[in-house]
Symmetry: C2
Subunit: 435 residues, 2 copies
């Protein structure tokens, strides 16, 4: 393949993640999933991912198999300045290229250290070694440049495994370059993730079952998690972008018709962000009063940029004394009914709203375990509550699973309770339902 020509036989991208820490399980590979999300809308699907250790033979085997399959391989990891990083020399050897020092990059690295008043560590000089003939992608987020090699077998791109560097290099350079090197499909791969909570996976499957044939050639997948069971609809590139979007709109409408208010949004949006958008639309503020969820709800409500538009405060009242002092729960209530009770969660809601002067409140008190359960209130007993200026709702949950699962499911259920109250407030006020 001559330089500059567009590779025509490509049917997608292979991803090879390199790092013994990934196989040992010390580190989760998040780059592959991110790249899948990044490339699919461009009509460039990730068709397989392979994870191997920092081992030259395993890297060569994986990259060779990936090149044979699609001819375009994106590697992540193994480009650091330490001795266990073997990706660059291994792939250079696979392409028969020597490593040369790039004086311009070396000067740039020295300049960056000098700007911080530091001398560059000697070990960092290896970051300026570049295979002969490689395409060079300058890294604004770290010291290892992105590199691409190409011959008649295809293209191999090497990127650092540190997630913000991997993402930054893709966004700055690599994705745009890839688009010039790959003949796209007829249309893009487009997916829509319909987010659903408060109903079991098998019930979602049954309600949606007849939709599957109705929307062909689009496909449906069911994605259960602590957050609920999402439904993903995908158009695989047989259609133009406009056709695909229209088909996805129809599929989403069918799914919403089957699942009603269990649908809380589309896309990667967290339920907390949906609640946040609804609060912002109504001009409401919210306070979170948490016990067993320990700050998880506040954390999720503030993950989104601009959360200060609606989030005023959170109180994690873990000890009962904190429930009394920070939330104004009455000692008599805890004595009579316990801290995990309808009465306690109601006082948490009221106290939080008063102490933070917020319009709305969300509250959770429960037993996440593994300790603390009793015969009457076993681990998994959780009271959740939500309040808007117009309404309040309280609910008892009986959850199964470990501590993490109980905390995650409690937070999700409480956020959903507030979402439903906000929808009710919106519908009663005659405003439009959210899109």
């Amino acid at each position: 393949v001559a330089a500059g020509s567009v590779v025509s036989r490509r049917t997608g991208v292979e991803v090879v993640a390199i790092g013994t820490e990934l196989l040992l399980g010390d580190t989760l590979d998040t780059n592959g999933a991110w790249l899948g999300r990044r490339l699919a809308p461009l009509g460039i699907p990730v068709v397989r991912r392979t994870i191997v250790g920092d081992d030259a033979a395993a890297i060569q085997q994986a990259v060779s198999a990936a090149l044979a399959n699609t001819g375009i391989v994106v590697c992540s990891g193994g480009l650091g300045p330490t001795r266990d990083d073997v990706t660059k020399r291994t792939i250079a050897a696979l392409y028969g290229r020597a490593l040369r020092r790039d004086e311009i990059w070396l000067a740039e690295l020295r300049r960056r250290y000098a700007a911080r008043g530091a001398a560059m560590p000697v070990s960092n000089e290896t970051q300026a070694l570049v295979p002969e003939g490689a395409v060079f992608f300058a890294n604004a987020h770290g010291t290892a440049p992105g590199l691409a090699l190409e011959d008649e077998r295809g293209i191999t791109i090497m990127l650092p495994g540190v997630p913000h560097e991997f993402r930054g290099l893709n966004d700055d350079h690599v994705v745009a370059w890839l688009e010039t090197r790959i003949e796209p499909r007829a249309g893009p791969v487009r997916s829509r993730l319909v987010r659903i909570t408060g109903i079991p996976e098998s019930a979602v499957g049954e309600r949606v079952d007849d939709v599957i044939d109705a929307i062909a050639p689009l496909t449906i997948a069911f994605l259960p998690s602590f957050a609920g069971t999402d439904v993903r609809v995908t158009s695989w590139g047989e259609q133009s972008a406009a056709q695909a979007d229209s088909a996805l709109d129809q599929a989403e409408a069918l799914i919403r018709a089957r699942l009603g208010d269990h649908v809380y949004g589309v896309g990667q949006t967290d339920l907390a962000a949906v609640v946040g958008a609804e609060l912002r639309a109504r001009g409401f503020t919210v306070v979170a009063a948490e016990s067993c969820t320990g700050g998880l709800i506040a954390k999720r409500l503030t993950d989104a940029a601009g959360a200060s538009d609606y989030f005023t405060a959170g109180v994690v009242a873990y000890h009962n004394t904190a429930k009394l002092r920070l939330l104004g729960v009455r000692a008599a209530t805890i004595e009579a009914y316990g801290a995990v009770s309808e009465a306690a969660v109601r006082e948490m809601l009221d106290g939080a709203r008063q102490s933070a002067a917020a319009d709305c409140a969300i509250a959770v008190t429960g037993i996440a375990g593994p300790g603390g359960g009793t015969a009457e209130k076993p681990v998994g007993t959780v009271w959740i509550g939500a309040a808007t200026p117009q309404h309040a709702d309280l609910k008892q949950l009986h959850l199964r699973g470990d501590r993490t699962e109980i905390r995650e499911r409690s937070a999700q259920a409480a956020l959903d309770l507030l979402r439903r109250l906000l929808l009710r407030a919106r519908s009663e006020s005659g405003g439009p339902r959210p899109a």
Copy 2:
């Protein structure tokens, strides 16, 4: 291979994760990493992981290649009751086995639904279809059983992809069964993860560089993340368990000697859990006062079971009014210095300790972005503080990165500040340093 014989040519396990949602990036594969951690100490390394979509041809290709490589394959995913789940029939076909209905499992599933007062959805009947001659692993955590098939090419195990089911089936049945089917290495693969924070990766690499040769044949890897740069030392099974442990002890001692107080623990332990253990050992309680971290510190401090031993409360004072009302920060302080200032973080520390009646406090106030920065206080400007009964320390950070990174790094730095104060308190009181 006759049933019951031990497969001798095995050099490790291959993992094949199945699910189009993994390639599209809607879902992170956490099962593969978990299995790597679970099997390594048993001398059964995961040598490669492959991720493919819900596609029969891709599944057959991946499983065949994995069988050829090691002869033992663990598959996750694609066993659900919905139509996109094709793993069972695809792998049954690869082994030339028909699917038969398992009446005992069907009755068990019906019994479970009846116990909850519900009728079993018809779609769930597919969960009782089992390939002829398969080893059957009952699933106490969900409806899809684990299944294993074996012929002269090797063993393929199929497990559901839902993480708690995957983990539960492995812990209940599969790992013990695998151990009977695999001839182990001379010794187990043993790793030690030395957790390090507050020092850049290249500096860690330089300080530890000479340790690499000293500890051979053990290997070292550097694992940078928002939490710091961890160093993993691994013994690859050439030694007995006792020899490996002793060699790992020596390696850890060398690394600790080079990095001192930057080492905060070993293993997967979160820094918040280390802080929690130190608080428990001293009989101290703690309160968290957070602004830009939005509950992340409270959430991490309460992730561990038994957190109520030391964690009393958290206050997420996101709006300035909440800083005044819940933490007693003075309006004059915010007016004179701003909410992101040394004076403000000091008052947050003091106010939190008073309002929650805690011995210790940890506080963060900063600008996580993307909005809210000024020329004087750009995004990434963060004040952190920590206090014990004896000491207090405040520190200004200038962080780079996106909102998530700034929040994560701020929380980690604040927890580390408290850890260092607790170590100082311990050393001044003449107590032993932690192991």
